[in-house]
């Protein structure tokens, strides 16, 4: 049995393990016209990754909480778009890191306005100074352990939309809040699943659209040189709230902006 906490009630238990240890995971879900186009993808991911962290919750419980939230918040936004955030933690208490068997998960629910869309002409992107570490057992989980992303994002200048983080091998893996796709003469490339810190639901959607469109797609490492090479036809960032974002400049170097990936996928998931 999960316990719901509504952010507007103003109070989280001080012993919550999400706070103490980042012992939980979250989803931010775009709502358009009262519906979440990516609902199934978000609930799939949270159900699967909660199980990987051995946080006991069923998909049915999550769905019920999701619909409860939709009902509660929809009147606030009428026809405008908004973002629903679900934070699932292992629960309250337990002595130290070791979880006790009696813990019951907490689900903290909140809402926010949609951030401004990225400019259609593309965005400026830079490389981050902050290395990305990914635990092989917990790769892809949108857990509450996000201090690397916070520290990388804190370097962002106002005219830079995103910074890209590389792992110890020098492979460029993802942005602080986006996954990465590039188009080359050989087709599309995105870093392999075991290498990503957060396996975005938009990444999944984009891969599905590319495959459906008969495009060649490789899940393979990306080096900085691959992105700045003359045969790189375009770089894209994906995020389920913002959709597909074209990169106009990388580390100050101009890139071709064709909007090809947005054309294949629709610029936001709602255009599915």
């Amino acid at each position: 049995m999960v316990t719901l906490y509504w952010a507007e009630d103003g109070c989280i238990p001080p012993g919550d393990r999400g706070l103490a240890y980042g012992d939980g995971l979250f989803e931010t879900i775009r709502i358009d016209d009262g519906c979440a186009p990516m609902q199934a993808y978000h609930l799939d991911r949270m159900t699967r990754d909660a199980a990987r962290l051995r946080i006991p919750i069923t998909r049915v419980e999550l769905e019920r909480a999701f619909h409860h939230a939709l009902q509660r918040y929809s009147a606030l936004y009428l026809e405008s778009s908004w973002v629903l955030k679900l934070m699932l933690t292992r629960g309250t208490g337990g002595r130290g890191y070791r979880p006790t068997p009696d813990l019951k998960p907490n689900l903290l629910i909140s809402h926010a306005i949609v951030p401004p869309p990225a400019p259609a002409g593309g965005v400026n992107v830079d490389f981050s100074r902050v290395p990305l570490t990914v635990n092989s057992l917990f790769c892809g989980i949108k857990s509450l352990n996000r201090i690397e992303q916070v520290m990388a994002a804190s370097e962002l200048q106002d005219d830079v939309f995103e910074v890209l983080m590389a792992n110890a091998a020098g492979h460029v893996v993802e942005g602080t809040r986006t996954n990465l796709f590039i188009q080359t003469d050989d087709g599309w490339r995105t870093p392999p699943p075991h290498s990503v810190a957060v396996m975005g639901v938009m990444r999944r959607y984009v891969l599905e659209r590319l495959h459906a469109n008969g495009e060649a797609v490789h899940e393979a490492p990306i080096l900085p040189d691959d992105m700045l090479a003359p045969n790189c036809r375009g770089i894209y960032l994906t995020n389920s709230v913002l959709g597909v974002v074209s990169v106009r400049t990388l580390a100050g170097q101009n890139l071709p902006v064709t909007g090809r990936l947005a054309t294949i996928c629709g610029s936001t998931p709602k255009m599915e």
Copy 2:
């Protein structure tokens, strides 16, 4: 200006960034007879590592909060020992990972009884299945990003005191809540600072005591084979609440237990 939250008041703001992103750090401080023998070490570490995370707080502010807490809780424990926990987060709110300049840190203060001491005859230890990842920029910081330690600790069986975690290079780095020392024919060895996830204050204290005692000490990688080799004269775990703990068996293999490190250091910091 830091805002204090007392755990017994029962309420943390839902927008706290410690919860949202693990965007903060913590100390657990043992109190004996109304004093914290390791006080300076804890406040040193929190001041230094808050600065590394660019969380604005001064040592004087931390000290003031520490003494406030000591005053508030001491009457609860009279002459028994207890543990004070300080959790410092970047503050409440901000849109997404990127911290806004107006954030003011929160300090959540709580208390707990001291866990039972480790048996003097030594403890059983195992290797963890969970790899340890350490970001080169944030090594050693006792941040709120502790999901690897939680998942490793969740493997603990009741008769196993601790599991040791290794990095991608196969070096054994530390336990879930302890640092690691071994004694060999060449002297003492503990993993180097850049490799550790949490730079324990007890690790610092033990190194100082070893140096003061004229012992040979090497901060160098430790392989599993080093620990199970015939010339390994002893393995020790350190933790500021529990002191120096001798390891009796590792992965089922018996080890010599001489108590040598506890003799040099005192079995708990208060014996300084």
